[in-house]
Symmetry: C5
């Protein structure tokens, strides 16, 4: 999993039917100091995250399909939690 911040979401009308109804977020990876680092990517939302939220992103297909209880869905990356605090 990585730390990331939600930047917005993507609207796509031609995507596969199995993906319809799912919210696709654009997320920016963060380093341990919550500074942006690395390339943004897309993730499905499971926790009603909104723009600006710092979130936990799972980036493995098998794990993501387990989380969504969709063993056959073509899904790799999912937002699985909203971060309340970072302790160090």
């Amino acid at each position: 999993m990585i730390l990331a911040q939600v930047m917005g979401n993507v609207v796509s009308t031609t995507k596969l039917s199995v993906l319809r109804g799912m919210k696709i977020l654009i997320v920016q990876p963060l380093d341990g100091d919550t500074k942006a680092k690395g390339q943004s990517f897309l993730a499905f939302d499971t926790v009603q995250a909104g723009a600006g939220d710092v979130v936990l992103v799972m980036d493995e297909g098998n794990s993501s399909r387990m989380i969504l209880d969709e063993p056959q869905a073509p899904i790799r990356t999912v937002v699985v939690g909203i971060v309340d605090d970072i302790e160090r």
Copy 2:
């Protein structure tokens, strides 16, 4: 999945028979501001995307094989949607 822009396509006459008839696109990853970032790569087309289109790219083998309903095909990366808009 990531956001990417279609740059063109590759012509290869010696590729594996299982891959014949599939259109192989060159796609350039984009960041959340739709600026090019990172290294271009190849993806199979499923949505009749053309050069210049901003697209959703699935980059996991199991997911891609599910999308194409080809559980045995040697395919990892597939264009699965054309992006109409980005909300932030």
Copy 3:
């Protein structure tokens, strides 16, 4: 596996129920000279590692699920050892 140093941990109240009770560490990858290099990421703890510890991190889902004996858990990255010494 990679070498990494523990930087702290993340507190998230809305994460998936299957992940509750697990400690999520922020880890910074190190090169062979134990200097920070590359982007930090998150890993589940299995060895009671604390901030500052140099650790071994397993970053493959199948391996991580085997380590935790949780074949169905959505887990990809796990701290599996604390490093005592590096020989060269």
Copy 4:
């Protein structure tokens, strides 16, 4: 898959018996303009590619094992086609 150019090949006498007889190429990734970009890596040859050829490289284990019809072979990366032209 990615675009890459063949740079040469590796000779290794102590490699695993299952890998004997296979030609291991050094390939350099290319961007969409066929300029070198990113780090070179190793790939098994399936199309008699030679130094200087621009090739299609499959970089997923399950796909590569399907291509070689070797479901049990420890193989991840395979050259699967020689590129004749790039259209844009």
Copy 5:
């Protein structure tokens, strides 16, 4: 697979029991000209490689478990050969 050079090895007393007795090498990736490039990582040894050796590293879990004949071991990255020569 990638080309890499062995830099040393890691000593860890708290690692998982299934990993005890295995030698964990620190390896530095090399480009096609055998210059260091990219971030070092850890790999299990199968060929009695020592510091300074240029080696072939397999970096996929399923392949690595096949090589070690340990279908259940939490292992992703293995040194599988020592390089004698590079032809170009």
